[in-house]
């Protein structure tokens, strides 16, 4: 139980965790959602959290975002108490349709993050164009979210998050509502975006293959109340590849281990 955070600190030369959960318990409405969760995420690490539904994985992400405050324990960011949400932490919600402003165009939605950051209006258009190009939406600046497909809307939300220039990117089942092909394409794009920006990522998903494919480390939560049940290091070569990575013996071994874990938690 004296888990991840301490173990990480013990390794010489390993940087201090960027996000650290220290004995975090969250009680909402008399119900313990998360109990005594300790966990550290190194700068630049890609951490995936999986678990059966209702295990508190989304809640853990919201604690990391500062959208919830722990009942007990501490959440630290760069060694300081988390408190309210911060500019350095961006969150990509699963329900892109609700998270985008329907009355603003794609450019307007990206602009919101720049406006919040106080960027002068003269500098915004160039930055917006650059961000839309980065997520593969050049030429869609004038479209409204309702005129875009699900995959495009999620790209747009990612662009808005990148506009924050986040140190940490929190992603809550971002591809859960997308079809398989779109999902695979976006997985690879997120990997290359993250590799380019060096951001730390906490990625919540219920798709075990996706977790192993993307992550440096995968944590499986046990439900009622949410706590860490399994922790796997993913030592697969990068850059990852949809075919060869998924056929790698190590991938298959981890997949087996994770499936067995989830199966056991569901009984």
């Amino acid at each position: 139980m004296a888990s991840a955070a301490k173990r990480l600190e013990a390794v010489p030369g390993m940087p201090a965790p960027q996000i650290a959960f220290d004995g975090v318990t969250l009680v909402l409405g008399g119900k313990t959602i998360i109990e005594n969760l300790s966990l550290g995420v190194r700068p630049g690490e890609f951490l995936c959290i999986v678990g059966a539904s209702g295990c508190g994985k989304t809640t853990a992400l919201r604690l990391a975002a500062g959208l919830y405050q722990p009942t007990n324990g501490k959440v630290n960011f760069d060694g300081q108490p988390m408190g309210e949400p911060r500019r350095e932490i961006a969150i990509v919600f699963q329900d892109y349709g609700k998270a985008l402003l329907p009355w603003r165009t794609a450019a307007g939605n990206v602009s919101l993050a720049l406006e919040a950051g106080g960027m002068p209006s003269a500098e915004r258009p160039a930055r917006i164009e650059e961000l839309l190009r980065t997520v593969g939406l050049p030429g869609h600046a004038g479209k409204y979210p309702s005129e875009m497909s699900g995959g495009m809307q999620q790209r747009l939300q990612i662009a808005r998050c990148l506009a924050q220039e986040p140190k940490t990117l929190l992603m809550d089942e971002p591809f859960g509502a997308l079809d398989a092909m779109t999902r695979q394409g976006l997985q690879d794009e997120v990997l290359s975006l993250v590799a380019a920006s060096g951001a730390t990522v906490i990625f919540v998903t219920h798709d075990l293959d996706e977790a192993i494919y993307l992550g440096d480390r995968v944590i499986g939560l046990l439900p009622h109340p949410g706590r860490i049940g399994i922790e796997l290091s993913v030592n697969l070569p990068r850059p990852r590849d949809q075919l060869s990575t998924r056929e790698h013996p190590e991938f298959l071994r981890l997949r087996r281990q994770l499936f067995d874990f989830i199966k056991a938690t569901e009984q």
């Binding site: 959208l67 500019r87 919600f93 309702s146």
Partner: protein, 254 residues
């Protein structure tokens, strides 16, 4: 569409024609009824001597001024109550105690305080318009998608920008519906005040025609007020579709 609206006109025109025939056949003599042809002639007459235009100007001035003041007050209170739950609970009893007072019941007080004229009428119209705007904009703010408020928090939008860039645009389609409702109320209340006491505008015009035993002119005023109300609503519906067609589709439908 045009076929349908043409069909929907058949019945009213048939009724009018039958009434015209009946009135002529019986040589109708009445203080309250007049055949349609005479009503139309009276309306032309009132336009010719500009009396109805002056009355329209007076009524619309009072109605719009009251609507504007009522909208500003109602919107400010509604948004504040929608955002700050504590404030809302503090004010709830007060609001619910004042709201049921019929605006016309304020007439005697307003008359003593402000006398005849525009000011008294504007105040009463504003009072009537505040409530629908307040109640509906409060509900609109409360029903904003919570995810949008989380996005605002995560982006660290300052409070003023949260109101201006998230809350107002998100609530605007529903606030506009409240505005349409209040525009209708404004016209009704303005004319009512004029009929009851204020010697101005279309309501006073009706009363004058009645006292002059001119049912044709009285009914001409009535037709004209109906036309104004209808035109106002059409105008606002068109504006609503123009402004919020997209938002209404993507926002309320989901």
């Amino acid at each position: 569409m045009t076929g349908n609206s043409a069909k929907s006109l058949i019945l009213p025109f048939a009724v009018l024609a039958a009434f015209e025939v009946w009135a002529r056949a019986t040589h109708l003599q009445s203080d309250s009824l007049a055949p349609p042809s005479e009503i139309v002639m009276a309306l032309f007459g009132a336009f010719a001597d500009l009396s109805i235009l002056a009355a329209t100007r007076d009524t619309l001035f009072s109605a719009f001024a009251g609507l504007a003041i009522g909208t500003i007050i109602g919107l400010a209170l509604g948004i504040a109550f929608g955002i700050f739950d504590t404030l809302n609970r503090l004010m709830e009893v007060t609001v619910e105690a004042i709201r049921p007072i019929p605006s016309i019941a304020l007439l005697p007080i307003a008359l003593i305080a402000l006398g005849f004229g525009y000011r008294m009428e504007i105040v009463i119209v504003a009072f009537a318009c505040v409530w629908p705007i307040l109640i509906l904009s409060r509900a609109a703010v409360r029903s904003i998608e919570p995810r949008l408020m989380e996005v605002a928090r995560a982006l660290r939008l300052p409070p003023a920008q949260r109101v201006w860039k998230i809350i107002i645009p998100a609530a605007l389609p529903r606030i506009f519906v409240a505005f349409r409702l209040s525009a209708g109320i404004a016209l009704i209340v303005a004319v009512t005040v004029e009929i009851a006491i204020n010697p101005l505008g279309l309501g006073a015009g009706i009363m004058l025609a009645q006292q002059a035993l001119r049912p044709d002119l009285m009914l001409a005023y009535l037709v004209w007020i109906g036309a104004i109300g209808y035109a106002l609503n059409v105008l606002l519906v068109v504006a609503q579709n123009r402004l919020f067609g997209r938002a209404a589709l993507s926002g309320d439908g989901a």
